[in-house]
Subunit: 501 residues, 2 copies
Amino acid sequence: MTVQQAFERLRKIQQELFVYNYAMNIIHYDADTVAPPASYVCRGEVLSAFTEKEYEITTGDEMKSIVAFLIEHKDELDGVQKREVELLNKEAEYVSSIPKDEYVAFTSLLNEASVVWHNAKANNDFESFRPFLEKIVDYNRRFAKYYKPDKDPYDTLLDQYEEGLNKEQADNFFNTLKEHIVPLLKKVTEAPQPDTSFLHKHYPKEKQAELSEYVMAVMGIDKQRCILGTTEHPFTTNVCTSDVRITTHYYEDDLASAFYSTVHEGGHALYELGVDPAYEKTPLTGGVSMGIHECQSRFFENLIGRSRAFIGFVFPKMKELFPEQLEGVTAEDFYKAVNKAQPSLIRTEADELTYALHVLIRYEIEKELIAERLEVKDVPQVWNAKYKEYLGVDVPDDTHGVLQDSHWSGGSIGYFPSYALGSAYGAQIFAKMNSEMDVYGEVASGNLAKVEGWLRENIFRHGSRYSPKTLFESCVGSSFDPIFFTDYLENKFSDIYGLDK
Amino acid sequence: MTVQQAFERLRKIQQELFVYNYAMNIIHYDADTVAPPASYVCRGEVLSAFTEKEYEITTGDEMKSIVAFLIEHKDELDGVQKREVELLNKEAEYVSSIPKDEYVAFTSLLNEASVVWHNAKANNDFESFRPFLEKIVDYNRRFAKYYKPDKDPYDTLLDQYEEGLNKEQADNFFNTLKEHIVPLLKKVTEAPQPDTSFLHKHYPKEKQAELSEYVMAVMGIDKQRCILGTTEHPFTTNVCTSDVRITTHYYEDDLASAFYSTVHEGGHALYELGVDPAYEKTPLTGGVSMGIHECQSRFFENLIGRSRAFIGFVFPKMKELFPEQLEGVTAEDFYKAVNKAQPSLIRTEADELTYALHVLIRYEIEKELIAERLEVKDVPQVWNAKYKEYLGVDVPDDTHGVLQDSHWSGGSIGYFPSYALGSAYGAQIFAKMNSEMDVYGEVASGNLAKVEGWLRENIFRHGSRYSPKTLFESCVGSSFDPIFFTDYLENKFSDIYGLDK
């Protein structure tokens, strides 16, 4: 076998994996958007069967022998090939470490857990979801130990969402954020608050949908390859580089919610749509980590979307769509309203300033759960206590507390920190971008092509070609420093709230 | 191997087939409802791969040896088992007769043809669709010949949609219809026409959606297992007995269109939802033929939905939803308006009386195409000439002519006659049902449970357990006679139009 022959054989295997992956993506999207409630039993059988196929291919002799051969011949590989083999090997080692029946049973569990969680949230019934969460925590801990018996399991989980991340780094990161955010938030909370009442007039869904389509166009999202749907919980699905789906949720008494969901998910979509199509059907396709992904989405949502420049450009369109509701309201009023910072209950609705504290709470709970220092049955109580401690708010019920997010029911433990990390990455990327162009000057003219082009060149197109650390550092030209983010927050909110810094 | 062991092995194979079928159903549904335009290339690869898997399983040695064994031991099988083996054998013989590469290529062609047809219809561009239709006709003819070399290929195609149907029977059937419908239509056309203007006021989509949800509830459709979506062309997808999807299309200047689409597709859904779940994952599940299927949908749409009794019950709800638009309109006005009979261009919008003539035109064209007496390039011209001859209407363009239906682009040739057949089956079934209960008395009270229960007992639950002929005859207690249908039409339209019979 030559290296070329090995890659040819690999392409065939990857084509097969792609087929199952594609089907599971569509089936999941269908489940999350339209499938009737009773359909989950059949769906579970199908997802289990395909997971089994994927397991068999990933851990199969053919895959193993090719990967082993390529590792042996790594001196003959170029950088792209080396990274591909490295990622394949990592995936094969991870999957092989888990017994097949457990691997498949986890898929089946998650299919049911998703239905149970939806109902639990709707009915404020943590108790019905509890046994599922117990199993999910247990699977996560077990899988992490199978894969890296000698490593702390939560470190292993963090690494799955952000290659290279560990608890020590995350602790330091969150401590830095806390140090800056807590005193800033105190000052902000004591200052006079902007008026947000006009955001909560009646905004008909169809007009909001028009606004979402408009902002997708402003962002330059290719509608031949990307559609906008509606779901209870907005998300992005990446099927392939010619098929990306984002969703939003329209509340008729809230102008900002769906708009910023669309911008956020649109950021995810731009990333996926911008990956080099040559990487399709290899581990190099798709965003490299959740941190880098959330960086793109939150970059568009906040650094761009909640900027004076962007709002100045899109506000006339809002006035055109909602002339009565926005009568007498200026772009500056809107800017201040959508940047109002105050402790709240719901992560996805939190402002830029308090957002990281919501994430911190989840991070701390996950750490304790995986370390077996906290039992699932006690999570609601701990959740509520932490919301009181860090944000000063009383959680009225589990629907607005521990049941609010879909991540745990989806099997993801270790994902949350990437949201805060992504926000912080974004501020440093913005600084770098701004050293090369007048970012807000571009945005103010409604032309996002240069911003998107810069991100495509420096981030999007690379997909998973580089580790998140390598990608980030080569993008900004230095190592990660959360001080860019805290500086950004201090400047922005001091300005909005008229504080002395 | 014992018979029991053979069935156990069969269940495993059928489970595997179910998985691929499920995935393809969801992927098709996704394609028809939301998938972004550029996604069709990836989708084609996946559908082809799964079609190949299905081909391999269906024609594989394991399947063949089990079916052969069971045929050998048919004296030990009960009726249900015999039918199952018979259907499996038929399917295996059909698929095996076609070379794998052609079988897979046809799936791939249809995936592309569907996209091309949508664009062709939107742009009135038959020429772009022509090469696809040529290939589709060719594949159909070729596959029919592979399967039954000695049989007329159009007879083979008819049999695929309506087991046992052939051209001779279809010719006789259509001749009977023509004999009665053409003179009746002439009288109707000459009589004063009911006012339909109020149907074309402005009816907002959301209110129409509420009406559709309402009528689904009236029909007793289980919303845990069935959802309503919206598409350009309404259809029903049967994923499994706990997952059936129907779609409708809202036109804001037409109250009746979406309403009757929902009722029609709702009839299909009730059939699928009513099949005995014990048949799931065997060839016995799902409606037995397109004729019996269209019989259920058109039964609910017309015999029930366009009856005075049903309209009398639902009209107050319409008035409640549309008080201004329907001011001064009575249930009787609505009844007459939605039963207005007149030659028209579009099959799906045709009234009960002219509907069969639309089908006849397609039937005659398909027959000629498969017999190679007509070339695809000449179809638009023949289509238009037949619309002039049978319906007296001028077809203004191919969008409103030969490009209007999705069936051919979906690969289906031989499907259309089942619409007319289904309509005629329905009238005879109604007569039988009415001999056992006061159907319109039930319907007038808004209680469809007895009607649905009767159909479930006599038709739905049997799935594909019996051939359409056996099922129909055991249901009505006699053989099929289209005179029930023509009598029904004569009575109904003579009454509405005040004609002497």
